[in-house]
């Protein structure tokens, strides 16, 4: 198997990562890159203060307000998530609800946001010229989320069509021309056949949240307990789904799983990191590592701290980027750890940092 030298983008948690790859031994590859980590700061709900901080992973410098600097206007929404696909950044923006379409290198808007038929967008996956965005729609009852759906977006025309999918679609990933969708108020993963749009369901042990794909092509999904859909600690952790049969082939139990189910995978796809959170009134948060091959979780936390809010792994050196959000109205923090758990450095971010997206900007 060819080693991957450069993952041009890693979309967190998440969603699909469709990546231009280039080979180690390609003699033509003389391009130089500025390597950045985009920090998605959610902001305070409804206050229109989501932003993107830009961390230069080589110069080790942080720049705030990336969107405002590029576009000379406040972002004025919250950013639920960000994905980069074919050098275009898509922001799932809430309050107002829209998809912002930006140049991934400059963060300049490539046009006006897409807002028709987009209500409470969550996460993004794409294949070919189509994107699939999980949306919560109008919510009248949070324990049912009857109006949620998948928005399909033609990436050229930006035309949206809806696939109804009740129960609060959250994390999404595409594999084998099927869209896997974690449903937030059930213990089911929906599988949408992208050729036929037929929907089937895979039952898992607890509430599914986020996906990663391992080196064998299996899909791992985090399973959590939500207060409206509670599950006991012994049901929490990760489920391994094989796209060949759409069956759960194994589970890794992680009783301390945080309710957001934040997970990230290394670029070699052999180690998964999961974020744990102590049950109230405890406030401790943890990062545990999982070995993909043995499907086993570390016996103790690799990293512990307070108020962890998101994580990702730098594809170039396997440094673990942990986002810390002390409270909703104070700036957060990016803490960078070596893969052995030793703290390397800390940087200030914007408000409520949630996701890290690595991207290489061609110089």
């Amino acid at each position: 198997m060819k080693s991957i030298k450069k993952i041009i983008l890693t979309v967190l948690l998440l969603s699909t990562v469709f990546v231009s790859c280039s080979s180690d031994d390609d003699p033509q590859d003389k391009k130089e890159y500025e390597k950045v980590a985009y920090i998605v700061n959610y902001g305070v709900y409804g206050k229109g203060d989501g932003e993107i901080s830009i961390y230069d992973t080589e110069k080790e410098t942080m720049t705030q307000d990336g969107y405002k600097t590029a576009n000379s206007v406040d972002f004025s929404s919250n950013i639920q998530s960000m994905s980069v696909y074919n050098d275009v950044a898509y922001l799932m923006s809430n309050a107002g609800d829209k998809i912002d379409v930006l140049d991934a290198a400059t963060l300049k808007a490539l046009g006006n946001p897409v807002s028709g038929d987009i209500i409470k967008p969550r996460y993004f996956a794409a294949t070919g010229n189509t994107a699939y965005i999980s949306c919560w729609g109008e919510v009248n009852d949070w324990s049912v989320m009857a109006n949620s759906y998948i928005a399909t977006m033609d990436l050229t025309s930006k035309i949206i069509t809806k696939i109804a999918l009740p129960a609060g679609p959250e994390g999404v990933i595409i594999s084998n021309n099927k869209l896997y969708v974690a449903l937030s108020v059930t213990n089911k993963v929906a599988v949408i056949d992208l050729a036929t749009q037929n929907i089937s369901y895979i039952e898992v042990s607890a509430v599914p949240q986020q996906f990663v794909e391992d080196s064998n092509g299996n899909i791992w999904v985090s399973m959590v307990s939500k207060y409206s859909t509670p599950f006991p600690p012994e049901k929490l952790g990760l489920a391994v789904i094989t796209p060949k049969t759409n069956q759960v082939i194994d589970e890794v139990n992680f009783p301390g799983m945080g309710s957001d189910g934040m997970i990230a995978i290394t670029s070699d796809k052999k180690t998964i990191y999961v974020m744990g959170a102590e049950a109230w009134p405890g406030t401790a948060t943890t990062i545990f590592s999982i070995d993909v091959a043995s499907r086993s979780i570390g016996s103790s936390a690799l990293i512990t701290g307070e108020k962890f809010n998101g994580l990702n792994v730098n594809p170039d050196n396997n440094d673990i980027y942990v986002l810390v959000s002390p409270d909703a109205t104070s700036p957060g923090k990016l803490s960078i750890y070596l893969s052995n758990g030793a703290l390397l450095s800390e940087e200030v971010t914007g408000l409520a940092p949630k996701h890290v997206i690595f991207y290489d900007i061609e110089k």
Binding site: V44, S72, A95
Partner: protein, 637 residues
């Protein structure tokens, strides 16, 4: 429920008129006597502003928010629609007690009142007291308290008032007051209906059209309002010494929740809100010489329906009883002692079970002239929330009269008071976020003040100065914890500031002129230690302007009157720690009264935001530009 309420209101009407019918033949003429003990008299050393019926008449179709915006240097965080909350002297909305007939009407679940839901049409007077007064009013009175008053006027016969307003952005107001009083009974009923489309245009500075590189022109959506309310009062002199009083106030407030500018343009999950509130008081007063006994009952019902979701309603009820004894000549002073009992009940979809709670308040006050020129008041209060907490709130105030002549009066005052806030039901019981072990917030208020009054010929000048330091401990804030927000006692907050008022009234020939200026400086910040003043470390709390000022002038010439008012709200820090620009808003109105025997007709034309200032009270919530209103009133008395 609504049928029950209507039945109840009908019954109350019936009882009223039954009583009138039974007693009308046996009227005994009595002197005007104050029915209830006015507690403010014990607030020696405290700053109190009275907004009388003349001032209220200029904002009669508006809410408590409109009144404060016009007359007082107090910040109210508001949108253009149906929601506004007060930030008195830098405190949170939960730190102002809103009192109606001795009852604190703040929501038991939220801990505060939506100031947009309190209609000025229903009241004759509003008293605004600055600083802590928990010793008199109990929980919530940390930053200040507001009294919504109706004045009893005996022996006035029939009176009628009808008001119809029409204003910009699809705004209509209709109000009716009917009253009757003789020497024995006094009855009044006031009702209003208000609606506002609120579809104003604005430049949407949150949304840039990337094709033209300009901000978009937008029209506000989902910000309409429909409110109606009814208040009736009945006072009856049973005998020379015994009085019966009752009031009922029912209000229904519906509003769409205004989206922020980005949501307005791009769309979002728009929501609406409905609140119903019923407040009833009734009691007996017995006066005999220097003694005054009062006993009363009260009932409060609050109901909230969010976005027509009948599965997730919030309602609370409070039943109150109180007993009070006042002596106007006790150890050479005024003395008051009493107790309140209240039984609180909740029916909230998000609580694990319905909550039922009992509270007892014991209080006593004493005011005396220590010296010819020195007055002192001591107030003590013990509030007991059974099985939860006891709070002791004393206060001490002094007032010294430096000069008192027919032309000049100069006073100086000092007060110190302890205050507290019982955490809300939501803080304690919202499931699963609530924290049953959360502590009450408590504060200390230190205040000095001075008032100067000069009267000469037909002119008078009033000047007042106040300075305060307020320390609030165990400040409660909801903070994210895992995937949910939870209340915690996380802060020590210190607010300090000065307030200045200047008012001049004079006659220039046929012209009566009143003008004045109010200013407040409030510095409020989290602190580690209350008495280590590290000013360089202080950072103003969110949405509390350091500077607020109002100017006003009223000119009356024969039957005409002209009014101008302006208010400046200083810059505020937003949640994202950005400065929101300060703004100056100016309003003007001109009107004329026509008199025909006992009938008065008046017409009034208002221009609000004369300079069409584009401003934001909260970041990225649009506010209306220049707008107009026409008001017609008819009075008979």
């Amino acid at each position: 429920m609504s049928i029950k309420k209507i039945t109840y209101l009908g019954l109350v009407f019936f009882i009223h008129f039954t009583i009138i019918g039974q007693t009308i033949d046996t009227i005994v003429l009595l002197d005007d006597i104050e029915l209830t003990v006015k507690k403010q008299k014990f607030l020696v050393g405290s700053k109190i502003e009275t907004i009388d019926s003349v001032k209220l008449s200029l904002v009669s179709s508006g809410s408590l928010t409109d009144m404060i915006n016009r007359y007082l240097p107090i910040y109210v965080k508001q949108d253009a629609g149906g929601l506004s909350t007060i930030r008195f002297r830098g405190t949170s909305p939960d730190h102002t007690a809103i009192m109606f007939d001795g009852i604190n009407i703040n929501s038991l679940t939220l801990g505060h009142s939506n100031m947009s839901n309190i209609s000025m049409f229903l009241f004759d007077e509003v008293k605004v007291q600055f600083g802590s007064s928990s010793s008199l009013y109990g929980t919530d009175a940390i930053g200040g308290s507001i009294q919504l008053n109706n004045q009893i006027k005996w022996n006035k016969g029939f009176n009628v008032e009808l008001q119809q307003d029409i204003a910009s952005f699809g705004s209509y107001f209709t109000g009716l007051k009917l009253g009757y009083s003789n020497h024995k009974i006094q009855y009044a009923i006031k009702a209003f209906y208000k609606q506002k489309e609120n579809n104003f245009s604005f430049l949407n500075t949150a949304v840039k059209d990337f094709e033209t590189d300009k901000f978009v022109d937008d029209v506000q959506k989902n910000a309409s309002i429909k409110n109606y309310g009814i208040l009736q009062e009945f006072n009856f002199k049973i005998s020379e010494k015994l009085f019966f009083y009752t009031k009922q106030w029912y209000q229904n407030n519906w509003y769409e929740i205004q989206p922020n500018m980005s949501e307005n343009y791009y769309g979002a999950d728009y929501k609406e809100m409905e609140n119903n509130n019923l407040r009833i008081t009734a009691g007996l007063n017995y006066n005999s010489g220097k003694h005054k006994f009062t006993t009363g009952l009260g009932y409060v019902y609050d109901y909230q329906l969010y976005d027509n979701n009948y599965d997730q309603t919030i309602s609370t009820q409070t039943i109150l009883g109180n007993i009070n004894y006042f002596n106007s000549d006790f150890l050479y002073g005024d003395f008051n002692i009493g107790m309140n009992y209240s039984h609180l009940m909740s029916d909230v979809y998000a609580y694990k079970e319905d909550i039922s709670e009992d509270r007892l308040d014991f209080f006593s006050s004493y005011k005396v002239k220590l010296l010819q020129k020195l007055t002192m008041a001591v107030n003590l209060r013990e509030s007991v929330v059974i099985d939860y907490t006891n709070q002791f709130a004393p206060s001490l105030g002094f007032n010294y009269m430096f000069t008192e002549t027919n032309e000049n009066m100069l006073t100086g005052s000092f007060s110190i008071s302890k205050s507290f806030k019982i955490p809300t039901f939501n803080d304690r019981y919202w499931y699963p976020n609530g924290n049953p072990d959360i502590l009450p917030e408590h504060g200390m208020n230190y205040e000095i003040g001075s008032k100067y009054h000069i009267k000469k010929d037909k002119s008078s000048i009033d000047f007042s100065f106040n300075a305060f330091i307020m320390n609030i401990d165990d400040w409660i804030q909801w903070v994210p914890s895992g995937d949910m927000w939870r209340p915690q006692n996380i802060k020590k907050v210190q607010s300090m500031g000065v307030e200045l008022n200047f008012n001049k009234e004079c006659e220039l020939g046929d012209i009566d002129l009143i003008w004045g200026v109010n200013y407040s400086l409030t510095d409020v910040s989290d602190v580690d230690d209350f008495w280590n003043f590290h000013f360089s470390n202080r950072e103003q709390l969110f949405y509390t302007p350091k500077h607020i000022a109002n100017v006003y002038t009223t000119v009356e010439y024969k039957s005409w009157y002209f009014n101008f008012s302006g208010s400046y709200t200083g810059k505020r820090l937003t949640e994202s720690k950005e400065d929101l620009d300060g703004y100056f808003l100016a309003n003007t109105s001109i009107g004329e009264n026509f008199y025909l025997k006992e009938n008065t007709f008046s017409i009034n034309f208002n221009i609000n935001n004369i300079f069409n200032k584009a401003y934001q009270n909260q970041a990225y919530y649009a506010m209306p530009g220049r707008n107009f209103s026409l008001s017609l009133k008819y009075l008979y008395n």
